[in-house]
C-alpha cells in the first residue's frame, strides 16, 4: 500500500501496487469508452449481424463489408421535413445548432454586461441587486416548469424557436463567474484607461473582454453542453417534428422506427454523439480547466 501515497520524488519502478493501480484505472477507462465503441461498431453492421449478436462480422472473421449505408438509411427512416424540404435529421441538427449557438451567445452577452456593472460601476442598490441575482439560484428550473409551459401557451410561443431560446438567454452562474473574474483584473488598468480618455464601453471591449478569455470560454463550453443536451423543455414546448431538437428527435425515433431497427438507431445516436466527442477532443483542456475552476455544470 505504500505506493498509494502521493509522492513527489518517487521513481516509477515496478511494484505490485502500481500494477494494481494501472489495472483498475485501465479497466475503468475501458468501461467508460466501450459503449461508444460498441455503438459505432453496431452502427456499421447489417441488421442480421445485430440480431445474431455477431460481434465482428467483418474481415478477417466474417465476410460482411462495413455497412456505411446504415447512416443514410437512418436519415431516410427518420422522415422528411416538408416545410424546409430536407431530411428531418438535418432539420434536427439545424434546430440544435440554432438553439445552442443563440443561447451560448446570448448568455455571454447578458453575463458580461451585467457582470461589468457589478464589478466596476457603483450604481445605487448594487448589493441588493446582486443578492437578488444570487437568490434566483435557489429556484430550480424544474420548480418553474409548469408555469413556464403555461406562459409559452399564453404568449403563443408554443412550438416556436422563441420558446426554445429566450428563456435560456440568461445564466446566474455566468454572471457570477464573470463578476468574479472581472474583479481580479487590477484596478490600475481601469484608472489608466480613464486617463487615456477611454470610457466604460472602451474599457469593457478592449481591456476586460480580452483579459477574461478563460472565463468566457468556460461559460461558453458549460452552456454549450447544457443547451446541446436539453431534452425535457423542448419535449414540452414543441409539437411538430420539424421543431424538434436532436435529443428529442432521437428519443422519438427510438420510440417508433428505431425501437426495432437497432442498427439504424445506433447510427442515429452516432450522428448525435460523434460531433460532440470530436469537439471535446479539441477543447478538452478548457473543459477540465473550467470544471476544475468552477466545479459547476451549466
Amino acid at each position: 500500500m505504500a505506493s498509494l501515497t502521493p509522492s513527489v520524488n518517487r521513481p516509477t519502478s515496478f511494484s505490485w501496487g502500481r500494477v494494481f493501480i494501472y489495472t483498475v484505472l485501465i479497466t475503468g477507462a475501458i468501461i467508460s469508452v466501450i459503449p461508444f465503441i460498441h455503438m459505432i461498431m453496431t452502427s456499421l453492421k447489417s441488421y442480421g449481424s445485430v440480431v445474431n449478436l455477431n460481434l465482428w462480422p467483418w474481415s478477417p472473421f466474417g465476410d460482411e463489408p462495413l455497412q456505411w449505408q446504415n447512416y443514410p438509411d437512418a436519415i431516410a427512416a427518420a422522415g422528411t421535413d416538408r416545410i424546409w424540404n430536407m431530411p428531418l435529421v438535418v432539420r434536427y441538427f439545424i434546430n440544435s445548432i440554432i438553439i445552442t449557438a443563440s443561447t451560448v451567445f446570448g448568455v455571454l452577452i447578458t453575463s458580461i454586461l451585467a457582470a461589468y456593472t457589478f464589478a466596476y460601476i457603483d450604481v445605487p442598490g448594487k448589493n441588493i441587486l446582486f443578492m437578488l441575482v444570487l437568490a434566483t439560484i435557489m429556484i430550480p428550473s424544474d420548480l418553474t416548469l409548469v408555469p413556464k409551459v403555461v406562459m409559452m401557451f399564453q404568449w403563443k410561443w408554443y412550438n416556436t424557436y422563441a420558446a426554445l431560446i429566450v428563456p435560456f438567454l440568461v445564466s446566474v452562474f455566468g454572471i457570477f463567474l464573470m463578476r468574479q473574474f472581472f474583479m481580479q483584473i487590477p484596478r490600475d488598468l481601469f484608472d489608466a484607461a480613464l486617463i487615456d480618455g477611454g470610457g466604460h464601453l472602451q474599457y469593457l471591449l478592449y481591456v476586460v473582454v480580452p483579459l477574461s478569455r478563460p472565463a468566457i470560454i468556460t461559460t461558453a463550453l458549460l452552456n454549450f453542453i447544457f443547451a446541446w443536451d436539453s431534452f425535457k423543455w423542448p419535449l414540452l414546448v414543441t409539437r411538430d417534428s420539424n421543431m424538434r431538437v436532436l435529443a428529442v428527435g432521437l428519443q422519438q425515433f427510438m420510440a417508433s422506427e428505431g425501437g426495432t431497427k437497432i442498427h439504424l438507431l445506433l447510427a442515429f445516436a452516432g450522428m448525435v454523439v460523434i460531433p460532440v466527442i470530436v469537439f471535446y477532443f479539441f477543447t478538452q483542456k478548457y473543459f477540465t480547466e473550467g470544471i476544475a475552476r468552477t466545479g459547476i455544470k451549466g
Binding site: T5, G28, P35, S111, P140, V170, A247, A269, Q284
Partner: protein
C-alpha cells in the same frame, strides 16, 4: 466654442453640475448593462415562481377554473403513487450517491499517483459526461437488451442465463432469493433491478465528472503535509485516512450537495431508457411530475408536486449544511 462656453455658463449653477451629470450618465449606463439580465431573470425565474405557486392552488385547465387553496397538496399526501415515486427517488439517491462519490474518489486518488498517461485516462473517464444523455441512454438501453445486448452476451459466455435488466421490476433481494422460494415484502426487497440498471448507467456518466473535481481538490492539498507525516512514520492508508479525507472534505461536501440534488432531479435518461417502467418501477418524482403534466394535463397538481419536491430538496440541503459545519474542515 462660443456655444459650449455659453451652455456651461447656464448649467453651472443648476442642480446638474458637470460632476453630477457624469455620475448620472455612469449610473444609467450601469443600469442599462444590468437590464437584459434582470428582465430575463424577472420574467423567466422570479415571475414563474409566484405564478407556479398560484397554479398549484388551482384546478387548472387552460386557466384557473377554481381556486382550491391547498387541495392539490393535500391530495398529494394521500396519493399512493406519489409515495411510491418518492420511495423510488430516495432509493435511487441513497444508492447512487455513495456509489458515484466513492468510485470517483478512489479513481481520482489512483489517477493522482503520478500515473503515466494520466491525461488520456482522464479524457476517457470524462467522455460519458459530455455526451448527450439521450444518446448515451439509448446506447445503454441497447447494451441492457435481454436478447441482443452486449452485457447479457458477455455474461452468457460465463454461463449466466439472460437477465432482464431494465425490464425487471422485481427487487434485487427477491431476485436473489427466487430459487429458495422466499418472498420479501415490498419494503424489504430492495431496489428493483430496473432501477439498479439505471443507477449503473448514472454512475457511468458521472464518475468522470467526480474524478475531475476530486483531482482539482487533491491538487490543492499541500504536498508538505504528506512529507511531514511520512517523516513521522505514517504511510499508505493512514495518510489517506488522516490527511487526504479531511483536507478533501470541502470538495466532497460540494459534490455531495450537487449529486444529491442531481439524483432528485434525474429525468432524461430514465425517460429514454424505461419511461418510468416497467409498471412504475423506475417512476421517480421527476418522471411522475412530468407525466402528471404532459400526459394527464394536471397542471395544478403537477405544480404542487414541484413545490413539495423543492421543499424536500431545500430541507435536505439545510440538513447537509448542518452536518457539514461540524464535519467539513475548511482551512
Amino acid at each position: 466654442m462660443a456655444v459650449t462656453a455659453q451652455t456651461e455658463q447656464v448649467r453651472a449653477p443648476s442642480f446638474f453640475t458637470q460632476r453630477r451629470w457624469r455620475k448620472l450618465q455612469e449610473f444609467s449606463f450601469g443600469y442599462t448593462l444590468l437590464a437584459p439580465a434582470f428582465i430575463l431573470l424577472a420574467v423567466f425565474e422570479l415571475y414563474p415562481f409566484f405564478f407556479g405557486a398560484y397554479i398549484s392552488m388551482c384546478n387548472w385547465t387552460l386557466d384557473c377554473r377554481k381556486f382550491i387553496w391547498f387541495d392539490n397538496y393535500v391530495r398529494a399526501f394521500q396519493d399512493e403513487d406519489v409515495w411510491h415515486a418518492f420511495f423510488v427517488t430516495v432509493m435511487y439517491s441513497v444508492i447512487s450517491v455513495p456509489l458515484q462519490l466513492g468510485l470517483g474518489l478512489a479513481l481520482a486518488y489512483l489517477l493522482f499517483q503520478k500515473v503515466r498517461g494520466q491525461e488520456a485516462l482522464r479524457v476517457m473517464f470524462f467522455m460519458p459526461y459530455i455526451t448527450s444523455s439521450v444518446a448515451s441512454a439509448a446506447v445503454w438501453a441497447y447494451l441492457y437488451s435481454p436478447d441482443q445486448g452486449l452485457i447479457n452476451f458477455v455474461l452468457g459466455k460465463f454461463g449466466i442465463p439472460a437477465i432482464k435488466w431494465l425490464g425487471e421490476p422485481t427487487g434485487i433481494f427477491n431476485l436473489m432469493l427466487r430459487s429458495s422460494g422466499v418472498t420479501l415484502p415490498w419494503w424489504g426487497e430492495g431496489p428493483s433491478l430496473a432501477l439498479l440498471s439505471v443507477i449503473i448507467y448514472t454512475t457511468w456518466v458521472f464518475v468522470g465528472y467526480d474524478i475531475a473535481i476530486f483531482l482539482a481538490g487533491l491538487g490543492n492539498i499541500p504536498t508538505e503535509l504528506y512529507d511531514a507525516a511520512k517523516v513521522d512514520g505514517a504511510s499508505g492508508w493512514n495518510l489517506f485516512r488522516h490527511i487526504t479525507i479531511p483536507l478533501l472534505s470541502p470538495t466532497t461536501f460540494f459534490l455531495l450537495i450537487l449529486t444529491v440534488i442531481g439524483t432528485f432531479k434525474a429525468f432524461n435518461h430514465i425517460y429514454v431508457m424505461t419511461g418510468g417502467g416497467p409498471g412504475d418501477a423506475t417512476t421517480n418524482a421527476a418522471i411522475f411530475i412530468f407525466q402528471q403534466m404532459f400526459q394527464y394535463n394536471r397542471y395544478g397538481y403537477s405544480a404542487a408536486l414541484s413545490f413539495l419536491m423543492f421543499f424536500i430538496i431545500l430541507i435536505l440541503t439545510v440538513i447537509q449544511n448542518r452536518v457539514a459545519s461540524e464535519r467539513v474542515v475548511y482551512d
